[in-house]
Amino acid sequence: MSNAATFDTRTDTAIPVESPLAYSYRHSGAPRAGDSSRLQLRERAMLGHLILRGGAIVLDEAVRDVLGLNLPGQPQALVQDASGERSIQWLSPDEWLVIVPGGEEFPLETKLREHLGSAHFAISDVSGGQTVLELSGEAAQELLMKTVIYDVHPSNFPVGKGVTTIFAKATTIIRRPSEERWELVVRRSFADYCYRWLLDAAAEYGVNVEQ
């Protein structure tokens, strides 16, 4: 076990917890276009996000034993478990993003630290710093095409890919976990900006915001 000081960032006190978009819902609303909608938008709030850094071989062994997932070694690769709730994404040759259901991140971090022992690695809990916005519907790709500089055509962006690039003016991770869904991992401080951009860009498709 390493001697890193860790703590569970989730409090069990009665302080109400708000998602990064809580402010945006109050100030910008959550439009419902109903049946005419070609785009669904929802926040997958309060998930557990961990950044793993270190050598691929050492980390791969640890996440396979602890999480049951292979560490994606190929650039831009995104792997998920069967339920789609747990994922690991390649961010750089020595950096990966793990997203798990909220509350699982601290036990996972603890288990990984135990497993990795004195290996050379770093684990950072970034759950409070970012959130996931999910786009689905037939217009999702079209919306991304007019917003991001990256080529999101299916020939360049198949399912199981994820890239860090620029969404509007914000650094954003764009992922494609399935045929019909896209995920944006945005910084908490950019969440309102991204949300309002999405509402504006999606107005022509009749956006349905699911809260």
Binding site: P75, Q76, S92, P93, T164, T165
Partner: protein, 113 residues
């Protein structure tokens, strides 16, 4: 716009994701205390400004955030290659420009854009 191949991401990405970081392959003197003022000044402040092939360091700032090297032509702006840190360029001024005696006599200055 440049369309830059990141050797770590393994694909071409938009210039907006990158920042140039100056001349590549500058080695910090192993023993700074043993340097003369001139050697230390050269290391700190003096950079090549060639007309032609140049080796530069870039960072994939929005992306993998890794530094890498680029061989670029300062007249045509053409990117000739990119390669990882610690590697050596395969294209250099010497490999690009044939030795002087084989250069044709009339060699117009400047390159059409």
């Amino acid at each position: 716009m440049f369309y830059i191949y990141c050797p770590y991401c393994g694909e071409h990405r938009e210039e907006e994701e990158f920042h140039p970081k100056g001349q590549a392959h500058i080695e910090r003197p192993k023993e700074p205390e043993a340097c003369s003022d001139e050697e230390w000044g050269n290391y700190l402040f003096f950079r090549d400004n060639p007309r032609g092939v140049h080796h530069e360091m870039w960072v994939h700032a929005v992306g993998c955030r890794k530094f890498f090297n680029m061989t670029r032509h300062t007249v045509s702006y053409e990117i000739l290659e990119t390669y990882k840190m610690g590697e050596q360029p395969s294209i250099t001024a010497d490999s690009q420009n044939p030795p002087r005696e084989t250069v044709p006599v009339s060699h117009p200055e400047g390159v059409r854009a």
